[in-house]
């Protein structure tokens, strides 16, 4: 449904985006990950029709963004990090105005308005002046304006930034609901948000797409890495670990309380086997856990270029 092929964008001599390609189908929430300057905003701006690519194509339902940007703009909803709203308007009049600006007739807007306000969880605020709303509600108004024209692609740039925990939880639900029948693309630097809301992840580094896939696929390698704490000598432990068939690599560190800590990389996900063998070998197993936040490890590795693509 949405296909991005060899997308490249230069700002002068600087390549902000190089040969980015991906394809997504409707019903999915896509997470765009990357450090500052990785090319996330440039990607979103091109998809929103704000700036043209230097080369490459974007097609939505077969319509070419470069050839027919005017036609595509009514099929794309965009919410930047700071919601663009007219503060002097009421919620309803603003969303109605944006619907008209997207090419809808007055009757079409009126017919769709109740559903949009419900989707954005704006019940009870319909006639409130936007200037008097909290940041969280302004974000919701931003979402309502992004979806009023029933777009095929909704782009949300940092949708949860500046929200409190309750608002973040509510926003997650709104984003999930939005994906019904369309593609939602979310950029975020909060990995937990991506974990909770996205079906497919795209990781950018220095303007290049370095990995894409589901969270499970991207973090699969991380499940092979674990930290163990045992009662026993560090040298004995490292010797035992290096001879274990499931262990690829191990780094041990003696602790002040007489125990030994080790970070172990397994050849496959053999955590249960390792635990059983450690106990059978007479090591007093105190602790066995994942070596860290799997997605965060993947993100940091990919974003800094220290890990291979999944």
């Amino acid at each position: 449904m949405i296909e991005v092929r060899n997308l490249t964008r230069y700002y002068g001599e600087f390549a902000a985006l190089t040969d980015v390609s991906f394809k997504v189908t409707e019903g999915q929430v896509i997470g765009l990950l990357g450090r500052n300057g990785a090319g996330k905003s440039t990607t979103l701006k091109i998809l929103a029709g704000l700036i043209p690519p230097s080369s490459g194509t974007v097609t939505v339902d077969g319509i070419d963004m470069v050839a027919e940007p005017h036609r595509l703009r009514s099929r794309i909803g965009y919410l930047p990090e700071d919601p663009p709203v007219y503060e002097d308007m009421t919620v309803t009049s603003f969303v109605r105005h944006i619907g008209r600006m997207k090419g809808m007739s007055a009757s079409e807007v009126d017919a769709r308005l109740p559903e949009v306000l419900a989707t954005a969880a704006l019940g009870g605020r319909e006639n409130q002046v936007i200037g008097t709303l909290s940041h969280g509600y302004r974000k919701r108004v931003g979402i309502a304006q992004a979806v009023i024209a029933n777009p095929r692609l909704v782009i949300l740039d940092e949708p949860t930034s500046g929200l409190d925990p309750v608002q973040i939880r509510d926003m997650r639900k709104v984003i999930r609901d939005l994906a019904k029948g369309r593609v939602v693309m979310v950029s975020s630097h909060i990995l937990r948000e991506v974990e909770h809301t996205c079906d497919w992840l795209l990781v950018l580094r220095d303007g290049k797409l370095v990995a894409q896939g589901t969270e499970e696929a991207l973090t699969a390698d991380q499940n092979r890495k674990m930290q163990i704490v045992v009662r026993g000598d560090a040298n004995t432990l490292v010797e035992w670990l290096t001879q274990h068939p499931a262990v690829e690599d191990a780094v041990t560190r003696p602790m002040s309380d007489g125990t030994t800590s080790a970070v172990v990389t397994l050849r496959a996900d053999a955590r249960e086997q390792l635990a059983a063998d450690l106990i059978a070998a007479g090591f007093g197993l105190r602790e066995l856990r994942g070596a860290g936040d799997a997605l965060e490890e993947v993100f940091l590795g990919l974003a800094s270029g220290k890990a291979g693509a999944a």
């Binding site: 043209p52 005017h70 794309i76 930047p80 700071d82 007219y86 308007m89 009049s93 105005h97 600006m101």
Partner: protein
Amino acid sequence: MYTFTVARRDLGAYLHGYAGYVILSAALFITGLLFQVRGLGAGAQYSHDILETFFENCGGLVMITSILLTMRSLAEERQMGTDVLLFTSPASDLQVVLGKYLAALGVLTIMLALTVYMPALIFVNGKVSPAHIATGYLGLFALGSATIAIGIASSSLFKSQLPAGILAAVVVVTMLLGWMLSDKTDAPFTDVLAYVAYWDKHFTTFQEGRLHVRDLVYYGSITFIGLLFATKVQEGRRWA
């Protein structure tokens, strides 16, 4: 359709907030004051002289009001980040600029409509030609249209209202002084500057109740150039 959607939104912004009412009220108050001081209360005068003075007063206020109204139009969209809404809509830049132009022209029309009681008062003790009144208002409308276009063009260049207003005022005042500059220069600049003169050569005819197509063409041309300039600036910021 997009033009009217933008115009309706901007007209609402002028009339829902206090800024539009403050500008309108101040303009009407000063116009009324000048009408009393320089017109009705200035001793025995011919009715058509009072009417000419009224249009002269109104002309100055139309220019000031137009600049005050338009300095926010595109600059505020950039400042508030709402230009994204315009750029991601299927509306063309020309439609957006025209919408903003129509909204400002609408407010100006309301203001001019509210001044009609002043020429009507002349009928109490005097007599003027309705054609003179109509021609004078047409001149005010043309002058306002051109100044609004200059204001929108200036507003398209800035992210803040103040420099937009200052630049528009500088452009208008420079053109107003064209007749003075034309006296101090040699040909062909003399003719060019004399033609460009914003008021002297083109508005005084309306003021006196004389209608010349060349004056309508002059203000129409400035309106066209101003709106075209603003459209091109917007296009430069947006893709396709």
